[in-house]
Subunit: 700 residues, 2 copies
Amino acid sequence: MESATIIFQPSGHRGKISKNKSVLEAARELGENIESLCGGKGSCGKCRVLIADGSYPKYNIVSGRNNISGWKKAENRFIDKKNKKKGYRLACCAAIKGDVLAFVPEESRASKQIVSKRPHLVTIPYDPIVKKYDLIMDPPSVNDSKGDLERLLGALKIQYGREELGCDIDVLYSCDIDVLRNLPIRLREENWHVTVSVWMDKEIIRILPGKVLDCFGIAVDIGTTTVVASLVHLNSMKILDTQYIMNPQVKYGEDVISRINYHVHNKEGLAEMSADIIEALNSMIEALLRSTWPDNTSWLSTEEELIYNEVQKQRAKTEGKFLCLTPEDIEDVTIVGNTIMHHIFLKLDPRHVARTPFPPVVQKSLNIKARNLNLNICPSAYIHILPNEAGFVGADNVAVLTAEAPYKSDQIQLIIDIGTNGELVLGNRKRLLSTSCATGPAFEGAEITFGMRAAPGAIERIAIDPDTHEVVYKVVGHDAWSNYVKPGELQVRGICGSGIMDLLAELYRTGIINKSGALQKNQKSPRYCANPETRQEEFVIAWANETAIGRDITITQKDIRQIQLAKAAIYTGCKLLMRELGTDRVDVIKIAGGFGLHIDPVKTLIMGMIPDCDPKKIVPIGNAAGTGALITLLNREKRSESDWVARMVEYVDLASLQGFKDEFIEALHIPHKKDPFPHLEPIVPLEILFQEKNAVLKID
Amino acid sequence: MESATIIFQPSGHRGKISKNKSVLEAARELGENIESLCGGKGSCGKCRVLIADGSYPKYNIVSGRNNISGWKKAENRFIDKKNKKKGYRLACCAAIKGDVLAFVPEESRASKQIVSKRPHLVTIPYDPIVKKYDLIMDPPSVNDSKGDLERLLGALKIQYGREELGCDIDVLYSCDIDVLRNLPIRLREENWHVTVSVWMDKEIIRILPGKVLDCFGIAVDIGTTTVVASLVHLNSMKILDTQYIMNPQVKYGEDVISRINYHVHNKEGLAEMSADIIEALNSMIEALLRSTWPDNTSWLSTEEELIYNEVQKQRAKTEGKFLCLTPEDIEDVTIVGNTIMHHIFLKLDPRHVARTPFPPVVQKSLNIKARNLNLNICPSAYIHILPNEAGFVGADNVAVLTAEAPYKSDQIQLIIDIGTNGELVLGNRKRLLSTSCATGPAFEGAEITFGMRAAPGAIERIAIDPDTHEVVYKVVGHDAWSNYVKPGELQVRGICGSGIMDLLAELYRTGIINKSGALQKNQKSPRYCANPETRQEEFVIAWANETAIGRDITITQKDIRQIQLAKAAIYTGCKLLMRELGTDRVDVIKIAGGFGLHIDPVKTLIMGMIPDCDPKKIVPIGNAAGTGALITLLNREKRSESDWVARMVEYVDLASLQGFKDEFIEALHIPHKKDPFPHLEPIVPLEILFQEKNAVLKID
């Protein structure tokens, strides 16, 4: 298939794309996020791009409007004549015929909110934990017959000096025993020119031939349900690939308590669950590494294949297209997760975390050799596991804090991270309080009639028309909203967490429920009904013919109560933390969502889940735990900051506070707002920041 | 069998001994070294002891001369009436009939030279590497729900304070992952009262129930031929047991070069040899541990036996007789050895050490987790391997230096350690030079017609009568000299290193050879002959009827040349080091012997192996490498001193020095002495210092 070069600006993403693909398809392949509500059908008009016309020596490209397929009728709806003349097109309607330089205007960029509102996340200075030094040594001679390691350390001292190395090399530097075993042959085969990888200015963990300064790491977020791992090129701070899988421990139970119970009742339970997550991580590592190889390369399984791969690797590297990384190339890993996931991963007994007063086995961060955890990376490298704050506020929350750094701010920040539990942090540079509030599993889709995990077929966003009470929704795995597709095309199966989050606000905003959460009877829309079996009032979200399950997907009065309990738990937590801190206002509210849980700030205000705040000051921060895992992978100061903040933050046990019950009952209601509701248009789900391929973390 | 209590003074050794055993036999069982040349036949008179008569409440004993068997005729030869009345007896003639307190006079004590001349060795302050702290904690509560590890570290901080802990515990203390895995159950089972073992003020490597401050370690000296391991109670600095075995690598070759060759020519050679020494060390560790158990206890092999042992252990401990140590109880190990043994043990490629310019893989000391070396001790503990000085001056020499500490002395010391190579160190606090001189294997018994290892049947000491040229000798494994036994009883098979060392001096002293080493013809003794096959002159050491091999054991002219080459190598090394240091005198000469190589200082002077020196200033220091291994096991400051001295000492390559050849040729001769030879009586081999059971290392 013939291909052409396409470059997106201002991101700089570029690559070879098969001709006749649309610019939107090209954008997806190259990791450029262009907004699209209809999923590429030319019916939403969100994917406008400007096609450059001319020669661009800087990019070594001649772009032209002739390199794009002809104007389509559908485009007339969204692009006026003036803009058409300028060169604007809908990315979904423009097929590639030759080299193209495309500019993506601000309004067409997806995820723009996250990127633009969180500059502190994308300006981490280069300060890696594993540093690489290339060294050229004189071979041993009669007058200089010191040991191979001492020769290497001597060269390190001479070439880089104490200042750069940050310590007295003679005293502090050690060398992993396996590396030492390879040292003599490496030095001689490479004619005394090698690169060493040094961990924490302390230990040599790898030796490479010649000059190889590229360094790779993986940041892992072990969620109760989902595990995310990102492969990062540490030198450029670029994310090369991200893998998501379901936590295989789900088979032992969906929530942390059932996993603890599995351990308590099965002698080998902890070992099994630990082995499962480690196997899963190894498969993710393999997939991440595979993404750096040509597609049809077989993976390290037999010796023959290894030799074949070696040939392929040389070829691929020569062509400059692939990195061809092997497990040895991964020299640093950070891991975050809630306390239970943390404990199971490390095979630490988690049972006491489930019983008052919920003490974890360990709070401080740990560095463990990869070979001792059976993780299939460079065996001498260290796995860094972030610290826990308390039994129910784990390393994932520390990661959120490290990403958001409220401890550096004068503003009082409220950070809400919603998963199976809600984790709250409130404070600023003076004092930080954290707590965990038992939201129950409603936000995860459990205990809701049609609740489900954020899997294909799950409704993740909902909007209701205030006049007609008609419903539109968006489903996991599809870009298009329901009003842009034929009924049944979305194969709806249920509602996941983020859909549930939208629901309460939309029901109240449109008058379908009142402030106490009761469904209002005598509405004219056919979506109201009383289920004859359960005798419960229901509201239909999706009609049977739109679903894959052949019956109406509804929300019941009981479901609404469950959602109220969950949101009240968070509201009560916020309020009590504010009381503890002695403040009646918060300056900023940051809402972190777990995976597939993308929260609309305004709706959280409407439903009364968070304290009053200027909606502009409510910032969704995506998977901030994952961001924290990445940041601590990239920056040594941030890593020690995470150790510090885990000790600095004070854990507050909500249940032990006075007035908890009263506050909670009060919080069940939906608050009365005097102001008109802000204009709500269907909101595109916020992409998880690090889902993007080649996202540039380092800007300055 | 009925038993009685016997106590030896001034050493304090005491124990229960079966009645009717001789006092000499009792001494051996209890680790008391009493001199005996005839091996207990009542014919040498060296084993005089004083039997106390009276009640000794301090020792809880009533001793009496009636508790000893009657006077024997043989004793009249050695004990006069006055001393008989005082209570003197020959230990070999006095059988035990009841409780006895025996005083061993200075002249009857073996090894006295070593013990009395090396007080600095036996006054190491208590400064262990692994420290134990017993901790009592409050259990977790609602107001204090910190992590188990943090609770433990908090207790450590409160109970012992920063000063005692020597560091900022929050930052530096970590915990081995396996220990962490056991922490929750240990703390709760023991009701929050445990003891922790902390390595180097850094890492918790073990957790024990309640208060258990006893700490045990093993010091290992891996020789090319012999491996020695001592089990030490670190708190009291007592050596509980010492094991000796032949290095199993001997099957790959007797010397280091043939082992390197085995590695070079066999793909798995290094792995095999490494596995062999580790297996051997594990068997020694097992034997050392076994020595702390009742005799008939079966050893950890099946689960059933483990349970049985647990019962036995409780019983034995209750009776207070046995320590019942298990592998887990060994929390520290130091290892010394020459560079090649060091490399093979660690599976480091030793081939480059054999080729000019002889660089080792590593010089600095290493700390490696026991579990990563497969040593069967506490798996979280560290194995400390002392540093190497250079390719041919290894960790064993660093251990010698650490034991002797010439770097703290104003006197210029010459330290000679003779094994397969001669290792020399010269200098004082200002400057230290070291070198290795290729003595060849003559001193190890190789390349000598009847040379052999120091094994049963090997002649280890020789004395020749200047008038009659009659020969007496002592054989490994027998206490008695040849003139005290019937011919053939000693089953002689050859001559080992120390016998060879004696030989040249004795041959010259008695005029059998001249100063150039030539056998003097026309002697009247029937011991001179010319071998008709080889046409070589020979001198008979042992007649065929005294041997186990059925022919005369002789020394040939060619053998004598080999010995001359070896002694000349050492002499040349000494002289050239003196020249390098710019001194024409040495204040002290210390001679360390390998295993089975116990050198007579005066004979080394006679044969011209060492520079001129007052014989009183020639100090045999036994297995100083083993001593160094023990010292660095016991004392942290000494351990870092060993790191320091390995860098401080300057290695001198003899072959590259001007005048090496001339000096060497000159040194082949036996020097002419004006002074009469000092009186030489047959000298009892000096016991290796740490062969004694219960030797008290800590005196002050």
